[in-house]
């Protein structure tokens, strides 16, 4: 398989790992904006506005240098470095936000229509865990791709986004989703999701 790694990119990463003079400055010039945009995006999606984007970016640089650039050394060229870096930046920023007490996934209930939001049950109800386990068992009975589609949908991703994420046509995503839903419907036929036990 031909390498997807740009030679310049690879050379720069290796120069950073070897701590060559000027390499880190080039790294910051080349990827600084990518890191900032990624950090700012995550901060905004997590509504962690008390975390400054500069602090997040500085934390990312600090961690990238940790342990003789361990995170850079882990990149072996299977993906583009920029994609890998975005992923690592997201992980690091999430850690930073969690450490500063700001972690909260966006409450999707906030986006629900009023008629439905009022019915959202409290998380402490006793039968909730049982229903979650029933759903888990039902999802395990699906094929991996069907289960992945259901997991992505329960993360709030649309079929179009799922088709992009899984590199499949939108029609295939639709078909996987429809079959998975039909299967779950059968498996969950004996479970009520509405009433207290």
């Amino acid at each position: 398989m031909p390498s997807i790694v740009d030679n310049d990119e690879s050379a720069l990463i290796h120069a950073c790992i070897a701590q060559e003079s000027g390499a880190w400055a080039s790294f910051v010039r080349r990827y600084g904006r990518l890191i900032r945009v990624t950090a700012a995006d995550l901060r905004s999606r997590n509504r962690a506005y008390s975390c400054d984007v500069d602090d997040l970016a500085a934390y990312v640089y600090e961690r990238l240098l940790d342990d003789s650039c361990r995170r850079l050394r882990r990149w072996e060229g299977r993906s583009k470095f920029s994609t890998y870096l975005v992923h690592v930046t997201l992980n690091l920023c999430r850690d930073y936000i969690a450490k500063h007490g700001e972690e909260r996934r966006v409450e999707r209930w906030r986006e629900l229509p009023d008629w439905l939001r009022a019915s959202v049950p409290p998380a402490c109800e006793l039968d909730r865990q049982e229903q979650i386990e029933a759903m888990l068992r039902a999802i395990k009975s699906l094929s991996p791709r069907q289960a992945m589609v259901i997991r992505l949908r329960s993360e709030g991703r649309s079929l179009r986004e799922i088709s992009q994420i899984m590199h499949i046509p939108e029609g295939t995503a639709f078909s996987l989703s429809t079959r998975a839903i039909a299967c779950l419907r059968t498996r969950l036929a004996d479970h009520s999701f509405g009433e207290h036990k």
Partner: protein, 254 residues
């Protein structure tokens, strides 16, 4: 949960997934949504279904769980894994809400990043590959002064809708410029020489007399001015004959 297709209960899961994704409700589901909405018991059941799906996406993993490596996840996202590794990754995603969550976050982040990078790569492609292979609807090039842009008409690829491309003459040097509104408060400008580029030309962006950024103009890569706030800027090309013009970057509502 009911398996009878004529019963609105049979559609609760689909409704829950559509509402979680904030997808528009399909017309075939709309009557069932109306029935669910009109019935307090069904509404509770739908809310409970969504609650369970939400809890699933956050369910804790066992301590000995080994997630996908950062690089494998990034390679899956790019579609760069071979069939065997891809299937293994998908089996993992089917069981690991954390990996799915990270994949979704990567997808959302890359959308932002690609939106930022796209104009630069477009200008590069325009210049390096020759204009005729970049297929863009002609309407988007309405501001291009060069009649050769007619070559671009009649095909399907698109520029970001909030972008503009035009030619700018600086003395003897013709520049291709693209501006993209990334948001209401931020734009990026990419500049590349088109037909002539004298040695030692310097492109300088100024605002209120202060230099924002100054870069040598080269023939093979665009000069990028990223993250510009709305305002009036001066763009100067310094060479044997100095040229200068003003560029206004406006907010969307202006």
């Amino acid at each position: 949960m009911n398996g009878d297709p004529s019963d609105p209960k049979a559609y609760l899961l689909e409704l829950a997934l559509a509402l979680a994704a904030q997808d528009p409700i399909e017309s075939r589901l709309a009557p069932y949504q109306a029935k669910v909405q009109a019935d307090a018991g069904l509404t509770r059941e739908l809310a409970r279904m969504m609650d369970v799906l939400y809890a699933l996406s956050q369910s804790a993993l066992s301590p000995d769980h080994t997630c996908l490596s950062d690089e494998v996840l990034a390679a899956y996202f790019e579609g760069g894994l071979d069939q065997e590794d891809r299937a293994a990754a998908e089996t993992h995603f089917a069981e690991c809400p954390e990996a799915v969550h990270r994949l979704c976050e990567l997808h959302l982040a890359m959308k932002q990043v690609q939106d930022v990078d796209e104009p630069a790569s477009l200008v590069l492609r325009l210049f390096q590959g020759g204009i005729d292979f970049v297929r863009v609807p002609a309407a988007l090039f309405c501001e291009l002064a060069n009649p050769a842009t007619a070559l671009l008409a009649g095909s399907e690829a698109t520029l970001p809708p909030q972008s503009r491309v035009w030619h700018q003459q600086f003395g003897d040097t013709k520049l291709l410029m693209q501006i993209v509104h990334e948001s209401a408060n931020s734009c990026s400008l990419a500049v590349v020489a088109v037909d002539r580029c004298a040695e030692a030309q310097q492109l300088t962006l100024c605002q209120d007399g202060a230099i924002i950024q100054s870069e040598p103009l080269t023939v093979d890569r665009p000069v990028l001015f990223l993250g510009l706030a709305p305002g009036r800027y001066g763009l100067a090309l310094t060479s044997h004959q100095n040229e200068h013009f003003e560029i206004d970057i406006l907010t969307e509502d202006e």
